[in-house]
Symmetry: C2
Subunit: 771 residues, 2 copies
Amino acid sequence: MATLQDIALAAAINILSACIFFLVFAILRIQPFNDRVYFPKWYLKGLRSSPTRSGAFVQRFVNLDFRSYLRFLNWMPDALKMPEPELIEHAGLDSAVYLRIYLIGLKLFVPIAFLAWAILVPVNWTSASNTLAQSKATYSDIDKLSISNTPLGSERFWSHIVMAYAFTFWTCYLLQKEYETIATMRLQFLASEKRRPDQFTVLVRNVPPDADESVSELVEHFFLVNHSDNYLTHQVVYDANKLAKLVKKKEKMQNWLDYYQIKYSRNESSRPFKKTGFLGLWGNRVDAIDFYTSEIEKLCKEISVERERVTNDPKSIMPAAFVSFKTRWGAAVCAQTQQSRNPTLWLTEWAPEPRDVYWHNLAIPFVSLTVRRLIIAVAFFFLTFFYMIPIAFVQSLASIEGIEKVVPFLRPIIEKKFIKSLIQGFLPGIVLKIFLIVLPAILMLMSKFEGFISISSLERRSASRYYLFNFVNVFLGSIIAGSALEQLNTFMKQSPNQIPRTIGVAIPMKATFFISYIMVDGWAGIAAEILMLKPLIIFHLKNFFLVKTEKDREEAMDPGSIGFNTGEPRIQLYFLLGLVYAVVTPVLLPFIIVFFGLAYVVFRHQIINVYNQEYESAAAFWPDVHGRIIAALIISQLLLLGLLSTKEAAQSTPFLIALPILTISFHYFCKGRFEPAFIRYPLQEAKMKDTLERAREPHLNLKGYLQTAYIHPVFKGDEDDEEEEILGKWEHDGELVPTKRQSRRNTPLPSKFSGSSSPSLPEVVEERGQP
Amino acid sequence: MATLQDIALAAAINILSACIFFLVFAILRIQPFNDRVYFPKWYLKGLRSSPTRSGAFVQRFVNLDFRSYLRFLNWMPDALKMPEPELIEHAGLDSAVYLRIYLIGLKLFVPIAFLAWAILVPVNWTSASNTLAQSKATYSDIDKLSISNTPLGSERFWSHIVMAYAFTFWTCYLLQKEYETIATMRLQFLASEKRRPDQFTVLVRNVPPDADESVSELVEHFFLVNHSDNYLTHQVVYDANKLAKLVKKKEKMQNWLDYYQIKYSRNESSRPFKKTGFLGLWGNRVDAIDFYTSEIEKLCKEISVERERVTNDPKSIMPAAFVSFKTRWGAAVCAQTQQSRNPTLWLTEWAPEPRDVYWHNLAIPFVSLTVRRLIIAVAFFFLTFFYMIPIAFVQSLASIEGIEKVVPFLRPIIEKKFIKSLIQGFLPGIVLKIFLIVLPAILMLMSKFEGFISISSLERRSASRYYLFNFVNVFLGSIIAGSALEQLNTFMKQSPNQIPRTIGVAIPMKATFFISYIMVDGWAGIAAEILMLKPLIIFHLKNFFLVKTEKDREEAMDPGSIGFNTGEPRIQLYFLLGLVYAVVTPVLLPFIIVFFGLAYVVFRHQIINVYNQEYESAAAFWPDVHGRIIAALIISQLLLLGLLSTKEAAQSTPFLIALPILTISFHYFCKGRFEPAFIRYPLQEAKMKDTLERAREPHLNLKGYLQTAYIHPVFKGDEDDEEEEILGKWEHDGELVPTKRQSRRNTPLPSKFSGSSSPSLPEVVEERGQP
C-alpha cells in the first residue's frame, strides 16, 4: 500500500501539473489568435469581434503586452465575479444550476471536514489499536487517522455514529434547501422567460394509422374535437433521416472544395489533384476542384429529389406531430392528460425545445419501446458486470507485486523508490481513467436506441447509467476486486453474506487509492479541462485549411457544451467518496474540497467564456442529481453499518439502522414536494402568463409564430421568405375541416389518393432550389 | 409428515363438512323467515317483498313444500345462470370483476394441471431416486409424484424447466387477455353509466390558509381564474366528526327505546326498568322508556347545537373542497393536472363516489402524510416479522412430536391412528386461520391512519398489506419456520445465502401441509361462507327485539359486502400456492382447482342474492390483482431456481434466469399499456359523453344536480325540501365573485368577521329540527 510519502509525492506532481496547465492556459488565452477558442461564447453572443482588425501584424497573433503575462491567474476572480442572475441571463439556467452542483459539494464538505477533523481525527489518532498489527493486509500511516485505528469493541465508535447522524442531517438539510431554491429558480425562469414555441406545443406520438385520413388530417380532427377551445395548429413530423444524411455529406464535400480552393489560391501555379479511391490513396487522378464541384452539384440534385419525395410521399410522414395550442393553459392541459381510451395511442407530452428534439426517435411505437428497454437493460447489465474483468486484471498488474510477477526483469528499475512511488500513486488511477473514456459514447448509443425523444433526456439517461457503472466498477470494483486480488485465498471462498464485512474492512484500506484517484482525475483533469486542447488544435487546423470568410471562421469555432452525461456522474463519484469516507477516513475530505473548489472556478470560467449549450431544459436534471446524492448518502450509511459490524461494537450498530430508513423517507418527501415542479407545468402559472400576454399583446399572431417552429432542421434556413405565403394559406382554413372519412373499416385504401392532395399539409418543406 | 392416508381422511372430513354446510344452507334458505338473510339484495332492489304477507301462519316461517327440499343443490345452477352483463347491471362492475378473479384461477390452473399431470407426474413417478432415502427429513408417498423423486443431476429436470416456461407463457398470455378485457369493461361501464356526481367533480385538498378569505371564497376564486371556462360550483368539507358521533349515539339510544317499548307492549303489566350505571348493572333504577326518551331529547338538542356550530364556525371548515365542473372534460382536466406552483397545495384528484368518501381523512396536510406513511411502514414491518414468532411456536406444538413433548401424558390418546391423522391433517391449518382472523381489522386501522380518502382505496391498501403479510407469515413462515423446527440443528447454523437452498428443499416437503390448508381454509371455509351464520343470528335477534315496522326490518338486514381487503389476498395465496407447486408437486393442483370452482359458484350466488356493495370503484382494484399474480409467478420462478440449484442440475438451471426477467418486463408492458385506464379518465371519453349528453338534454340543470351531492352523510336526509331554496339563491350569484381581499399580507385577521357572513356558504347544512 501507498505510504504518506507516496501520497505527498503524487500530490506534488499533480499540483505541479495543474499549475503547468494553468500557466499554459494563461499564456495561450491572451494570444489574440486563440481568442476564438477561449472566448467563443462572446463571439456567438455578438459581444466580441475578432481582435485581428487593428494593430500591427504581429500583434494580431501574439500578445506583446508583457504586463498581462504577470497576471496569469487573473481569470479566476474574473470567473467568480459575474453574479448568478446575470449568469442565467448569459448562459441559461441549465449551466447556472450545473455550477450549483459544485457549490453544493463545497457547502456540504467544508463543514463536514471541519467537524471530522475536529472530532474524529483526534479520536482515531489517540486510539491505541492492535487491529492493525493483527491484520494481514498492509496498512499505512494514513490509517492512524482513520477508523481502523480504533480498537475492536471500543466505546469510541459512539463518536463515529453520532458523526454519521450529524453528517446525514446536514446533507439532508442542505439538499432540501437546494431543491427548494432550484425549484423556485426553475419556475421563475419559466415565468420570466420570453415567449417560446415549446410553451404552446405538445408532442403527440403514436397517432393510430387510419385508412381514410392522413396523419395530418387525423391529428387536426382529433384535437379539434377533444380540445376544441384551445387547439391552434399542428406540424407533422417527416422522416427526413435520409435527407439529413445527404445534407451532411454535401457539407463535407463543400469543406473539401474549400480546402482545395484555398490551396489553389495560395499557389496558383499547380492545380490540386486527388485520387478518387479510398482515402485518396488510389484510383483515377482527377482535378480536385472540378471533382468536388461536380460532386456537390450531383448531391444538390439528389437532395432536391429526396426533399420532394419526403414532402409528397405520405409514407414519409411519421405517426407523430407537434400540436400547438392557443394558450399555454391549453398546452399544459393536453400535456398532462390522457387523450384516448387506449393509453398507448395519442401519447402526449411537453414538446422539447425545437433545438432539443432528437428527431430520429419520434416514430417508435409503444410496444417496441418496451422491448427496447428490456434489451438495453440486459445489455447494460452485461456491460457493467463484464467490464469489471479487464479493470481488475489491469489493476492487479499495476501494483508493484503484480508487475514484478509478470515482468520480473524490470524489478531493479521498479524497486527504486521514486519510480515505485510513481507507479503506486499514479498508475491505478490512470488505468481506470482510460477505461472510462470509451464509455460515454456507448452509453449514449444505448439511450438513443432506447427511444428518448429529446437530447436532454438522452443525456440524463446516459448520466444515470454512467453513474451506476461508476458505482459498480470504479467504486465497488476498486474496493472489492482490488482487495480480492490482494487477500486472495482468505477472501474468495467466503459466502455472499460476508460481502458487507469485506467491504467494511476494505474501505479504510482503499483510502490512499481513492486519494490518488481524486488527484489525477479531479485536480489535474480539471486543470487540463480549461486548456481545451482538442478544440484548440481543431480550430487552428480548420482556420488554416478551410476558413475563407469571417462566417467560415465563426463556424470553425467549436465551443462544445458542458456534457451533462459525463460531467455529472463524475461529480457524483466525488460526492459518494466524500460521504463514504467522511466518517471512515476524514483525511480524504480536504482532497475532495480542493476538487470541488477548483472545478467550480474552472467550470464557471468555461461556462461564461466557452461553452454554448445546445438546449435549455430549465434544470430538468435536478431530481436526478438530488436522487444520486441521496443514494450516495444511503450507500455510505450501509457501508458504515457493515464496517462497524466487524468491529465488535454490537451495542452501538443498531442505532445506524434508523439512518437509511430516515434518509429514504426524506427522499420520498422531497420527491412529492419538489419533483412535480420539474415534470409538470402548473396551470396557475400557465394561466398567469397567458393573461399577462393577452393584456400586453392583444393582437399577437401566434399562429404565424408557431407555424414553422417545429420543422426538421434540414428544412430550416431556406423557408424564411416562404412564411408569409403559408400564413396567407392558413388564414383561409376555417375551423371546420371537412372529413374525407367515408366509413370506418370497409374502404381500406382510398387514402393513397386522397392523402397526396391533402390541403392541410403545410408546404413549408417544399424544395426551394439551391443557392 | 402426513401420509396419503392422512390426506385422504382430511379430504373426506372436509368434503363431508362442506356437504353439511351446503345441506344446512339449502334447508335454511327456503324457510321464509330466513328470506331476508339469504336474499337481502333483492329486497334492497325492491324486487322481492316479505313472503309473510300471505298463506297460513306456519307457512310464513317454515317451508312445508317438501319437493323443494329435494332440490337442495338447486342454487348452484341458478347462481351460474345470470349472464355477465346482467350481473354488472345487478351488482355493479366491482362484483362482476371480483368474480372474474376466481374464473381466471380456473382458466389458469385447469390447463396447467392437465399438462403437469400428463407430463411431470409420469416423469417424477418413473424416476428411481435415492434422494428420499438419503434425506434425514421424512417424506411421504406424495413425494413420489413430486420433483423430490427425481435424482440429483438428472437430465429429467429439463422437462421441469420446459414446463416452467410453458406455465409462465400461459399465465402471461391469460393475464394480458384479462387485463385487456377488464380495461375495456371498465371504460364501457364508465361510458354507459348514467350521470353520476363524481364524473363532474374533483376533490381539492390542501387549500392554503388565507387571512383575507374563507376557504369557500378562496376555492371559488382560484377555480374561476384557473378553470374559467369549466368551473361550475363547489362544496366545502365540514369537520363533522363530532356531529357524526352524536348522531350515532342517538341512534343507539333509539334502539334501546324501541327494545323497551316492544317489551312493554308485549307485557303491559310491568313497566321496564333499568339501572343507569355501567352496563345497567348498578346505579339508580329508573323507568327505561322515560329515561331513553329524555336522553334522546337531550341528544337532539346537543345535535342541533353542534350542527349550528359546524355550519357557522369557520374553523370547522376543512381546507378541502369538492369542486364541480360544467363538463366531464373540465373535471378530467382538473383531476389530471397540477394546479399550483407549490405541488403540495391545491392537490386535485378524482372525487370518489359520494358513498365511497372516507370523510375523516380529508383534512390531512401533505407533510403529515409523509410522516404517517413512514410510521405505518415501520409499524407494518414489525407487525409482519414479529407476528411470526407465535405462529411458529404454536405450529411446533401442533405437531405430534411437539404435543407429546409438552404434554407427555396425552401420548396414548394421540398415538391412536385416527386422532393422529386428525391432528396432522387439521391442526396446523386451524392454528393459522385463527391467527389470521384478527389481522384485517388492524390493517384497516393502519390504512385509515395513513390518510387515504376513499373506502375503496383503504380496502385496496389493506389488501396489499394483507397479501404481504400472508406471503411472509403463511407462506414463507410455514415453509421456513416449520422445517426449521423440524431440521433444527442442521438448519439454524447456516449462513443467509443458504436460505434459497433451504426453501428449495422445504417446498416439496410442505406440499401436504398446504394441501390440508387448502382443504380447511378453501373448501370448508367457502362452504361455511354461504351459511352466513353471523348475519343470520344477528338478524333474528334484531327481528325479535327491535323490529316494529317494515322499515325497521329493512334496517335489520345486514347483507354485508365482498370485503375486498380480506377476500382478495386470500385468493392470491391460492394463486401463489398453485404457481409455486405447479412444477414442484403437481398433486396440489386439483385441490386448488376445486377451491376456485367452489368459490366461484358460492361467491356468484352471494353476489347475486346477498352482498350489497357499499361503493362502486369500477374495478379500480384490477391493477393490484394483476400485479400480485405476477409477483406470485416471479416468486415461483425464483423458488424453482433455488430448488434446482440444490439438485446438481447445473447445466439446466441458467435457463431459468431468463424467466423472471421476461416476466418483469411483461409486467412493465402491461403497466404502461393498461394501467392508465384505471387511474386516469381519457379526455376523448369525457368529451364524447359530454357531447352526447348535451345533445340529449340541452336544458339540464347540472348545478342543481351537483349542489348537494357531496354533503357529509350526517347532513343528509333532511335537506330535500331545502334544495329549491338553495338553487334559487345560487342562481343569483353571477360569475363575478367580488373579492374581499384588501391586501396580501398586511391585514392578517379581518377574515374572522367577513368569513362568518360569507354569502357563498351553502345553508343546506342548517339545523332542520327533529322529526
